[in-house]
Structure formats: C-alpha cells, structure tokens
C-alpha cells in the first residue's frame, strides 16, 4: 500500500457530500431521524426479533459494527500507508466488534449479564450507581470500579488518553471509521475552543454531581421525598440530555456537518477526565524546530479542532487535553514536523513555554 498520504486526502474538497453540501445535510437528517426512532420508538424491536438479536440494542450493536468495518476499510484506503494508522484502526474496530457487540450478545447465553467491557464510568454514567454495582457479579463490579477509577486514568498518564479515545472507545471507533470522511469539518477557531472548554467541563461536573447524588441517596438510605425526587430527576435529566441527545443524536447525527468528534470534543465526561490526566502525563506532540511551513494540513485534519499549526510554527512541543492521539497531524505533515510521543520528557523538552504565540 504505497499510495501517498496526500493522494488519500486530495479529493476532500472536491466531493460535495464531504463539504457541507445539500447531500451532507440530507445524510445528517437521516442519521438524526435514525437515532430519534431508535431511542424513542419500538420501531426496531420487530426487525431485531426477526434477526434473532433479542432486542433493538443488539440490532443497533450489529449495525454499529457493520458501519465501523465499512468505515475502517475507507480509512485504510485513505490513510493506510502508516503503521500507526493500520494498528490503531484494526485494534479499535476489533475491540468494538468483540467487546461492544459479540461478548454482550454471548454472555447471557452462559448465564452472565450482558456487560460492555470497553465502556467505563463516567462515559457509562450509571456504572457507578450503587444499585448498578449491586446487580453485577462481583468480578464485574470490581472491573467497573477499578477500571474507571484506577486503570483508565493511570493508563492515560502513561500513554495519553489516546489508549482509550482512539484505540478502545466505541464512540472513537465510529468517529474514526464511519465519520472519517468528515474529519476536516471540525472547527478550529478559538471560539470553538472556548465553547469546548466550558461545555466539556460542565458535563464532567454534572456527571460527578449526578453520580454523587444518586450514590449518597442510595448508600445512606436518605429517603426524604424532596431529596429522592431531586436525585432521580438530576439522574434522568442527565441521562436524557447527555446520554441520548448529546452522545447519540447530536454526536453522531452531525458527523456530515460538524465533523466526527462533536461528542468527544465538547461533551464526553470520560474525555474530560482523561484529558486532565493526560495534561499531567507523558503524552505530547513533539515539534521539530524551525521546519514548519505553516501549510495547515495538521489543523485542517485534526478531528478535535486543535490548531496544531499554531504550535508547530512557533516550535512548541505541546500537550492539549482534548487531543485523542489519532496521529493524523503527524501523518499528513508534508515536512515531517510532528511526532506523537509518550515517554518521560528529556531535559530539552522541559523548556515548554506558555500558550501558542498566535493565540491573540
């Protein structure tokens, strides 16, 4: 596979469906329609039964896997001339097909609850509710707690949040496969960065709050009517707004219009938490000194809307909390200026300056 990186990208702005043309809006409308139908009607129950899949969520899992595989092939065709891209997409899609679909489908046949090993709190916001944990077998409860509170942040310290967001996570897998044709649509303006910082940390705060309120109520058996009512309405509003509207309808439905990482960048509490850990960890994007030609391929193809160019042209090795480490900036750079690294910084790298020089 020797087609050059540029060849893989060269037609981006000559394909109407990838550039917010009428067909992009039509696709977006279809996707949103699909999610609304899936979440709020039983329309998909019958076809799910007919296919022997039990319920509509299993059908959704099957569709998800199919779209990931098709999108993964698209991705490899376009950016497959890179070891990092090959390994990352193959791993991510395999994990999702196995842990996000096959295993939850098989587990009930052996008398275990259907469990999604590739999801953690706070992305699955109900995983740490006491009643959820109590309902799980001990090994799964331990996995849930240790995974969310110890393993996930610890790995983010060592490898950056990419180990999850672009090697394991299902949202990331769909974004980087089915959503890949639209990765250049993510806005990289400073306004969009400002919005992202407020939005994602607000959701993180709400995730903590709703978990704490439900947890306190259940553990202390604090059953005052006003409190129980409040906790349950916080919980259900969080589930409705964040879990359904933002993650599904907006997150995936707007792929063809706002790019594939709307949810991951602006709303995902897991990404926020791992992002904070990433800032304190080893991951960074290293910038070669005085080699950048400011072409902007990195910024254009950053799916998280990071203005990578502003760092590259001011010779700043950097770590941004939102970076999911997809590696595309380094891949598309025509001057080989960028490299993803996760190793303890050497003396020379410690001379990090403040924020980007272009951030007026």
């Amino acid at each position: 596979m020797h087609l050059q990186a540029q060849q893989g990208l060269m037609h981006t702005y000559r394909q109407r469906w990838r550039t917010r043309g009428p067909s992009a809006y039509l696709m977006s409308a279809i996707l949103i329609g699909f999610y609304i139908t899936l979440y709020w009607t039983d329309f998909f129950e019958q076809p799910a039964q007919q296919l022997g899949l039990g319920n509509k969520w299993m059908l959704y899992g099957l569709l998800y896997s199919v779209f990931m595989i098709i999108g993964g092939l698209y991705y490899l065709r376009h950016h497959g001339n890179s070891r990092y891209n090959q390994l990352r997409i193959a791993t991510n899609v395999t994990i999702q097909v196995l842990l996000g679909f096959t295993l939850p489908f098989i587990m009930p046949m052996f008398g275990h609850p259907a469990f999604y090993f590739s999801y953690f709190w706070p992305l699955k916001y109900d995983y740490l509710y006491p009643h959820t944990l109590q309902a799980l077998p001990v090994y799964l409860a331990v996995y849930t707690v240790v995974g969310a509170l110890v393993v996930a942040p610890a790995l983010a310290i060592f490898t950056g949040k990419r180990w999850y967001c672009s090697w394991v996570c299902g949202c990331g897998a769909l974004a980087n496969t089915f959503g890949d044709p639209w990765r250049h649509l993510t806005s990289s303006t400073s306004q969009s960065w400002r919005f992202e910082k407020y939005a994602i940390h607000t959701v993180l705060f709400l995730a903590f709050t709703s978990t704490a309120m439900v947890g306190i109520g259940e553990m202390l058996e604090f059953k005052a009517a006003w409190y129980a009512g409040l906790a349950s309405s916080v919980k259900s509003w969080y589930g409705f707004v964040v879990g359904l509207i933002l993650a599904g309808v907006v997150g995936t439905g707007l792929y063809p219009v706002l790019g594939p990482r709307v949810w991951c960048r602006n709303f995902c509490p897991m990404a926020a938490l791992l992002g904070i850990t990433q800032k304190a960890g080893r991951f960074r994007i290293r910038v070669k000194k005085d080699m950048c030609i400011s072409c902007g391929n990195c910024t254009t193809y950053c799916e998280m809307g990071i203005d990578v160019r502003s760092y590259a042209q001011s010779n700043q090795t950097f770590t941004r909390s939102s970076c999911v480490g997809c590696g595309m900036c380094a891949h598309v750079c025509p001057r080989g200026v960028l490299r993803l690294e996760s190793s303890w910084p050497q003396a020379a790298d410690k001379v990090r300056q403040g924020i980007a020089a272009v951030d007026f």
Binding site: Q6, K288, I293, S294, F360
Partner: protein
C-alpha cells in the same frame, strides 16, 4: 513612527507581528497586491488539489489584522521616492513612511526566451493566488467547492506582474485540460504534477537536466522519484530542452523540443523564482545581478530607513554565497530580524547551516549540511533500505568527519543532524548513533544498516 511594509507574506507579516509585540504605538501599514490575508504559499498545491479549502491555508484568524492594529492597503506599489519617503500606488493616495520594509517576495521566473510564451493562452506558472485561480480554471472549471469569491478590482491586468490575471484556455474553448505538461524538474514542478494526478490527469514532466532535481538529489535518489512518478502515470522526459511553443487559435497546442514535438493543451512552467524587484529600477535601491536587494547584516539596504527581507533580499549564506534564501523559515526569521533593526536594535542576521525537508509524492526528504556542493575531497556513504520501509541514506564526509546528510523515505530530526555536524562527528560514530536522529512515527521499524554496508567504515575508525 509609521512603518510601511510592502508585502503581506510570511516575511512581511512576521515583521509586522514582531513590531507590534515590541511597540504598541507605531503605525504599521501592509501593502499587498496579491491577497488581503496572509496565507501559506507553500500550501497552494493543497488548495489546487482539493486537500484543503482556501481558508485552511491562512495561518492566522482573520481578525488578526484588527487585533494587532495593522492597516492594510490593497494596491500595487508603482514607485519609491526615498528622498521624500513616499510610495506611489496603482490606486489610492501615495503613502509616506518613516521606515520602509520591502518584503515583496519572488515572482516565477518568466520564460520570454521561448517563442509563444507571452502570446499563447494555456501557459502559466504556479506561485501566486492568481496562478491558482488560472490553473483551477484550466483543470477544474466547475468542480471546486468552498472557493472564496475573490475581489480582484485592484489588480491591474495586462501589465508585467506576477499578480496580473492570466486568461485561461478554458474561457475560450470551454474544455478542461487533458494533456498537461509541466516544465522544470524541481519542487514546484513535482507539486503541480501531484495536483494534476489528483485531478485524474496524466501529465508530462519535461526536465532539462539528466535527472530530477539535481541540486538536491543524486542519480540513485532521483531514479527512485522518477520511478514513483512513472508508477502514478506521469510521463517523465529527462534531458529534453524546450525550444518553442506552438498554438492553435491562440491556445497552446504543441511544445517543440530538441527531441521532437510534444502535443499538449496546458503548460505550467516551474523553472524557479526570481526576486520581484523590477519596480525598484529607478529608486536608487541597490540590487545584485539576479535582482536581489542588497542588504547589510541588519537587513538594511543602501538607503537609510529602507530595509528588505525575505525572498527579495540577497543575504550572506553560511558558505559565503550572497543570494536570496527562498525558504519559508528564513523568510520568517528575516522578518523578525528586520523588525528589530527597524526598532533600532543592533541585530545581525546570521544564517546557520543549511537544512530543509520536503515531500516528493509520498517520499519524505530531509537534508542538512553540505550536500551536492561538490566540496573538494568529499566522499559519499550511501545505503538503500528495501524492507518494510524503503529509504535511502546518503552521508557526505570529508577527512573522516561528516559534513552533510541527505535522506529519502524516512523522517529524521534535522536538529540532531545539525548538532552532529557542529560536533564534527566521524562517520563511524554517526552510523552507530544514526537512529538517535530518527523522527519516524510510532511503530515504524528502525533503520538497520547491515554490517556489510558499514563494515569498512567501522573497521577504519
């Protein structure tokens, strides 16, 4: 103080930003004929191919001029009176200045020595925004999206300027080009070839020299590039000299060369760039034979209060040459130095050892030090890797010390290479430590030089 800057490219814009960061009060005026917004010229090929939208190649957000209080004037500068400190413009009032910075860049080297060049439609270059618009018309008449509506009223057509608009063959025939030709085996040439391949065309590449890009590559390296070009359907013609263009109905139809007749319907000439300084002929500003503005170490011209930087200025190179440095990062560095000189600092522009990088099709290229300079007594160590990764490594050494690196196919950290050159490392030491300079992305296997290829060197040490 009023600083006028001619040119809105990387040198001019970097100078303006440096001036503003030091002096909050000075008035700064940027004059540009080409563009209202600073853009990355090196990225024009990506707009042409469709890889990026036009706005993506602007490194600054559009309100930067307002935020930095930089006044912009859209005009061509037609005259400079250094005694009156005044610039006359193609449109609008003349501008008086206290300090002037000329950062007007390069223009494509014109080719009037080839009959037909000036008269025929369908012949052009690929350096300016206007060139982009012309080439896009010839290749993609109605197939571009997210293209800005450009305002060209200020551009004076029909005069000798790189920013004058060129009428396209398409405007006359309504046909898009099918048999394009690129003349000139260098970086811009190969970039234009790539954009044509992206458009589904099979261009012809006419190269005068024995092999592609002889100033940077040797025959073995160049053969690999030519092989890759041919794999993608490019017709590569080496050692072929253009003699004349022939047309039909005013459009180019044939190129006559010393090897015969080449049918074509579009010609892009990429035989280098020259300083865009003809307009200074009567100004008293001294220029060298090639047109480069002569400057001292602080980038001041022979006239007080007039400075020059970037592609239009001839500066002293690390090896003693005096000529323009037509590179992105030197334009930026010179802009910063010029700004400090204008503010009265005692600064000197000094150029470090040469380095550069590029991408030829999918093949990464990195160079540092004295390569293809024919240094007396130099020797070459060369290794071609043909495994999971294909790469070439060429190390130039003299008297046992490494003096230059040329790499294809892998990414290398030029900073490390430059340090080794400074430290005058022996070849054997460099070969043993070579992977410390590796800049490949993760999971790419390291370069393993078989013992056979390095035995003589290591044993000799």
């Amino acid at each position: 103080m009023h600083v006028a800057i001619i040119g809105n490219g990387v040198a001019g814009m970097e100078a303006a930003m440096s001036l503003r960061s030091r002096d909050a009060d000075c008035r700064i005026t940027l004059i540009s004929e080409e563009s209202d917004h600073f853009f990355s010229r090196t990225a024009l090929m990506y707009v042409m191919s469709g890889q990026m939208a036009y706005k993506d190649i602007e490194p600054l957000e559009r309100d930067a001029y307002e935020n930095l209080r930089l006044r912009r004037v859209r005009a061509r500068v037609t005259g400079l009176d250094t005694a009156a400190k005044q610039l006359t413009l193609s449109q609008g009032e003349p501008i008086t200045y206290d300090k002037l910075l000329i950062a007007c860049g390069s223009r494509p080297r014109p080719a009037p020595f080839w009959p037909g060049y000036s008269e025929l439609k369908g012949i052009g270059h690929f350096v300016t925004l206007q060139d982009l618009e012309w080439l896009e018309q010839e290749i993609h008449p109605d197939n571009g999206y997210d293209r800005p509506e450009r305002e060209w009223e200020h551009v004076v057509d029909g005069v000798d300027s790189p920013y004058a608009r060129r009428p396209s063959t398409f405007s006359q025939t309504g046909n898009r080009a099918k048999k394009p030709t690129v003349i000139g085996g260098g970086l811009i040439g190969v970039e234009v070839i790539e954009t044509m391949l992206a458009a589904g065309l099979n261009p012809r590449f006419l190269i005068r020299e024995e092999w592609f890009w002889p100033i940077a590559l040797d025959t073995r390296e160049s053969a690999w590039i030519a092989e890759r070009l041919r794999e993608h359907g490019v017709i590569v013609n080496l050692e072929e000299n253009v003699e004349e263009f022939e047309g039909e109905h005013g459009n180019v139809a044939r190129i006559l060369t010393d090897r015969g007749t080449r049918e074509t319907d579009l010609v892009v000439i990429a035989i280098g760039v020259v300083p865009n300084t003809d307009w200074l002929a009567d100004s008293g500003i001294e220029r060298d034979k090639g047109g480069g503005i002569l400057v001292d170490k602080s980038l001041k011209t022979n006239v007080d209060d007039v400075y020059a930087c970037g592609d239009c200025a001839s500066v002293e190179w690390f090896n003693g040459w005096v000529r323009p440095e037509q590179l992105w990062y030197t334009g930026r560095d010179q802009g910063r130095i010029a700004a400090r000189a204008i503010l009265g600092d005692a600064v000197e522009y000094s150029r470090g050892t040469w380095y550069n990088s590029a991408k030829l099709m999918d093949i990464e290229y990195t160079t540092a030090g004295l390569v293809n300079m024919r240094v007396e007594g130099e020797q070459t160590w060369f290794y071609e890797e043909r495994g999971t990764v294909r790469s070439t490594t060429r190390i130039i050494h003299k008297d046992g010390r490494v003096i230059g690196f040329n790499f294809l196919g892998r990414r290398w950290d030029h900073e490390v290479c430059l340090r080794w050159l400074d430290e005058r490392r022996p070849l054997s030491w460099v070969l043993e430590h070579l992977n410390e300079a590796r800049f490949d992305t993760e999971f790419v296997p390291p370069l393993v030089i078989p013992y056979d290829a390095s035995r003589d060197v290591i044993q000799g040490a």
